[in-house]
């Protein structure tokens, strides 16, 4: 797991030359990566392909090319989706070279001032109290229909408009004035972080990483994930003090901010002492798994970070890794050993959009198929390019709105071709982006976009009648 910007930053302190020469020499210019690259797919220009970015970065780093706005454009439009890394037979760290070149001092005056929407977000997610205000704030935004206002102001304040477009995909926020009544709002969801009814000795404690945006706007997805873990017969420990994973900061080059977030999270989970740290946001998970390399240069934290990273698992990877409950003993959450909760088929045609940092960085591809095959009553259909980025890519959709939308629209054509009722994702950013795509493609009401945990829980959770009867389904 060395692809992220954290690894770059760790490497640059000791001088960049040997690092980039080695990386550059690895590229044999075969172009096996081009077909996987979303920006090349949309723009068809070599400079926007992984090979082009490697060669342009190489020319910049070797001093054969002066940093200028066009080379900045080639490099800066990289989504960091890591699809090229998966495709590359030589494992060339394309994004590392891109980031190294972008770090050249001559680019600083050329770089656009960080987008305001982006700065706002980075600042917000780093502070627990702003996150606490986010849900009520979004509720107000939705109640007052500020989105429309923002869009109409968009020709003067473009960043506001792009924020509004994305916010349109948020689920309805609960009113802060009517304290949530879990029983009424979401009948099947038990209180979060409640221990399983019969925690098994030696079954392996898990703790759940909530994630900032995920917990603030997709809390239901986190609840569904926790319920699934409990239904699997596991005890889910809480880890107070955890916060944002730091991914956005890392990708914006704010490495020190990211490091301190890493330390805070590591300490929080050490206190909880779980065997596994499970999460439901592909992007966050990838970053958590890179803490080891992010803090490799820090004597006090290096080994703690590595130990933490080795415990991190994505929810779908984790669930698919559990054995199916065998025979009659496997009754949902009461099962004797941790086991995969059993799904009931739903009358749905399902397709999967692999979230980049789950598939290309964490290497998790088949678990989603394993879990969803029994759920998709009307079939699991693959997208033509399931592992190609939807254009969300962290804050990319706010920074490079036009290109991100072109990538998204291409993705929606693929979605249409599958005839699916549900597109499953594994990351909050992807969910928001694809919901925007559904609206743009005129598919509202026909196609739902759901996190894998949401759909799974829909197919696992006890129905109302079974709950009344006190039974549970496995």
């Amino acid at each position: 797991m060395s692809g992220g910007r954290g690894a770059v930053a760790a490497g640059t302190t000791g001088g960049t030359t040997p690092l980039f020469e080695h990386d550059l020499d690895l590229c044999m210019r075969c172009s096996a990566c081009a077909a996987t690259c979303p920006t090349y797919g949309v723009l068809g220009h070599e400079g926007f392909s992984p090979r082009g970015r490697v060669q342009v970065a190489g020319a910049l780093l070797e001093g054969r090319l002066e940093p200028n706005p066009r080379s900045l454009e080639f490099l800066d439009t990289c989504l960091h989706c890591e699809a090229c890394r998966t495709a590359c037979p030589n494992d060339v760290p394309v994004t590392r070279l891109v980031d190294l070149a972008l770090d050249l001092p001559d680019f600083k005056p050329l770089g656009p001032a960080p987008n305001r929407a982006v700065r706002l977000m980075l600042w917000a997610v780093a502070h627990p109290w702003t996150l606490a205000l986010l849900r009520p704030g979004l509720w107000l935004w939705q109640r007052l229909r500020l989105g429309r206002l923002a869009k109409s102001a968009g020709h003067r304040v473009p960043w506001l408009a792009s924020l509004a477009e994305v916010a349109a995909g948020l689920p309805p926020m609960p009113s802060p004035f009517r304290p949530a009544l879990p029983a009424r709002r979401a009948p099947a969801l038990p209180a979060p972080l409640a221990p399983a009814r019969r925690p098994q000795a030696g079954s392996g404690r898990v703790a759940f990483f909530l994630g900032c945006v995920q917990e603030a706007v997709f809390a239901e997805t986190n609840r569904a994930s926790i319920c699934l873990l409990q239904a699997a017969g596991l005890e889910v420990a809480s880890a107070p003090g955890q916060g944002c994973c730091g991914a956005l900061h890392l990708h914006q080059g704010r490495v020190n901010d990211a490091r301190s977030m890493a330390r805070r999270n590591i300490a929080a989970f050490e206190a909880a002492g779980p065997e596994w740290v499970v999460n439901s946001a592909g992007g966050c998970g990838a970053t958590l798994r890179e803490y080891g390399s992010l803090l490799a240069g820090d004597p006090e934290w290096a080994s703690r970070a590595a130990a933490f990273s080795s415990r991190v698992r994505d929810i779908s990877d984790f669930l698919a890794g559990l054995p199916l409950s065998g025979g009659e003993g496997g009754t949902g959450r009461d099962g004797p050993e941790p086991h995969r909760p059993r799904s009931t088929p739903l009358p749905l045609r399902v397709t999967i959009q692999d979230s980049c940092h789950l598939v290309h960085v964490q290497g998790v591809r088949s678990p989603l198929r394993t879990l969803l095959t029994p759920v998709a009553g009307r079939g699991l259909v693959e997208l033509p390019r399931p592992d190609q980025c939807c254009g969300s890519a962290g804050v990319y959709n706010l920074e490079r709105t036009e290109l991100a939308l072109a990538i998204l629209d291409r993705k929606m054509e693929d979605v249409k071709s599958t005839g699916a009722d549900v597109v499953v994702t594994a990351n909050p950013g992807c969910t928001l982006q694809l919901r925007l795509g559904v609206a743009r493609a005129g598919l509202t009401g026909q196609v739902r976009v759901l996190h894998v945990a949401d759909l799974l829980w829909e197919s696992v959770r006890p129905t109302e009648s079974e709950r009344k009867g006190g039974g549970s389904r496995g």
Binding site: H22, D25, L26, M28, R29, C30, S31, A32, A34, A35, G44, H45, E46, G47, G52, Q55, V56, A59, R64, L65, E66, N68, R70, S71, E73, F74, P89, N90, D91
Partner: protein
């Protein structure tokens, strides 16, 4: 041959300003193919229709601006590298036509279509386009036709040339030719389709191809034969050629390539040995495939194979081919610069070529590994080196020189499928005499009298020096040493 502002203005009028690029960053992005010596063009232009190609070539001919056609830039002989400057003509946007017609078993394909997309479109209709260069996920049909590309399956099914029925070609002055057609038989006029196939972008720009498709062979399986001696593996290739059946693919790996590939991505199979033959057979049903596999197993054992493994299922076959596919990536972990040669010998000389390659490796102390399409004599001797080490690169150059001499001495050819391009033109006169070269020059002059299309490429450089725009440029660099 500097490009004038007036010429650029003409280009921008023609295709729109957003498809003409002169920024230094754009020029870097279009300065290379899959070889190692880049050269900067003066401008890059993207075209999206035959009409645009035609008007652009008329403009370029009039202004005497060199034009370097470029598909996907995966070429291994420098054909798309704009040595000498001029215009890179990016053809990848000619990808909107892709129709498969089962009634005639043909596909009509724009030059910019990616080869894999044609494979998929044909498969969707139960048809099969056999040419399968290893780069098929990236390279274009135009580039395949221009290089007459091959691949593992060509042993049984032939090379690109055997599937081209018709071509749409634009000549240097802008004339659009429609050659051949949709019929298997066609003897009306000279066979210019074949002339343009493999012409490396020096005679005209291919804009569309009509390609022959065949029925899918539904069943296939893979055999692996292990040897304690590389030459025995080579002799098996000869024996299979004589006894049959014809495999769909027959690839050889020497000890070094097996070892590196297994270290890089272990197959989980026990493949230790001096040589490995990977053999694929296909056919109408599993009985036929089973029978062919049994007969080939017999031939392999008869020629000295220590062990023959028949894949139990598709997954195991996949793991075996994974070994072959890993070799390229695995050997560059050893040293980063890979020099891929594709000198080819008649099948009966494969064992002798293998012996000579071993001698060349020892003589020059180079890291030479042999893996490739042994079945058609197209061994791929690959040398890995460090391009930042001049002494080593000099040894590599001498080794490459000897490889070409060995192949020619055995009645072979400089290139089986990668083309002459820039890299091999200085060796051309070893294979072709003055009369042959004069004939080729006359052909070039007949189609491109101004020498604007890929000037200096594919022909021996003593034939092109001093001719037309861009001719002979960069020869000094070419002579200075191997351009890996």
């Amino acid at each position: 041959m500097t490009i004038t502002a007036g010429f650029l203005a003409g280009l921008r009028d023609l295709v729109g300003p957003q498809r003409v690029y002169t920024d230094p960053a754009d020029l870097v992005a279009y300065s290379y193919d899959a070889t190692w010596e880049p050269a900067s063009p003066d401008a890059v232009v993207r075209v999206a229709s035959t009409e645009e190609v035609s008007r652009l070539l008329a403009l370029a001919a009039e202004a005497e601006v060199p034009v370097h056609p470029r598909g996907a830039g995966t070429g291994l002989s420098g054909g798309a590298v704009p040595r000498g400057g001029g215009l890179v003509l990016a053809l990848n946007d000619l990808n909107r036509t892709l129709t498969v017609d089962p009634a005639d078993s043909v596909a009509v394909v724009g030059a910019g279509v990616i080869t894999l997309d044609l494979h998929r479109a044909a498969e969707a209709r139960g048809l099969f386009y056999p040419p399968d260069p290893a780069s098929l996920g990236a390279c274009t049909i135009g580039g395949n036709v221009a290089e007459n590309a091959g691949g593992p399956r060509c042993l049984k099914y032939g090379v690109t040339r055997d599937y081209v029925l018709g071509l749409e070609v634009v000549l240097a002055g802008g004339a659009v030719l429609h050659l051949g057609g949709r019929t298997l038989k066609n003897v009306t006029g000279y066979d210019l389709v074949r002339l343009f196939t493999g012409s490396e972008g020096t005679l005209g720009v291919i804009t569309e191809a009509t390609l022959r498709l065949i029925p899918q062979p539904p069943a296939r399986t893979t055999l692996a034969a292990l040897y304690d001696d590389l030459t025995l593996a080579g002799e098996t290739v000869v024996a299979i050629g004589q006894a049959g059946p014809v495999p769909a693919a027959l690839e050889i790996l020497d000890r070094a390539s097996i070892r590196y590939a297994e270290a890089y991505r272990p197959s989980g199979l026990d493949l230790a040995g001096e040589a490995l033959l990977l053999i694929e057979v296909d056919g109408p049903d599993s009985a036929s495939v089973h029978d062919q596999a049994r007969r080939l197993e017999h031939v392999c054992r008869g020629s000295g194979a220590r062990q023959v493994l028949v894949a139990e299922d598709a997954a195991q076959a996949g793991r075996l081919w994974q070994v072959r596919r890993s070799v390229s990536a695995a050997i560059v972990r050893l040293k980063p610069t890979k020099i891929s040669e594709d000198a080819t010998v008649p099948r009966s000389r494969v064992p002798e070529m293998i012996r000579r390659l071993a001698a060349i490796r020892a003589k020059h102390g180079v890291d030479l590994v042999v893996f490739g399409h042994a079945g058609d004599g197209n061994l791929h001797p690959n040398i890995v080196a460090n391009r930042r080490d001049p002494e080593e690169m000099a040894r590599v150059e001498r080794a490459v020189n000897d490889i070409f001499d060995a192949a020619l001495a055995l009645g072979g050819t400089l290139s089986g499928e990668h083309g002459i391009g820039l890299l091999k033109r200085r060796f051309l006169s070893r294979q072709l005499g003055p009369a042959e070269r004069a004939a080729m020059r006359a052909v070039k002059m007949a189609f491109d009298p101004g020498n604007i299309l890929n000037p200096g490429k594919a022909l021996a450089h003593d034939d092109v020096a001093g001719e037309g725009p861009g001719a002979g440029q960069g020869l000094a660099a070419d002579d200075a040493g191997v351009r890996p």
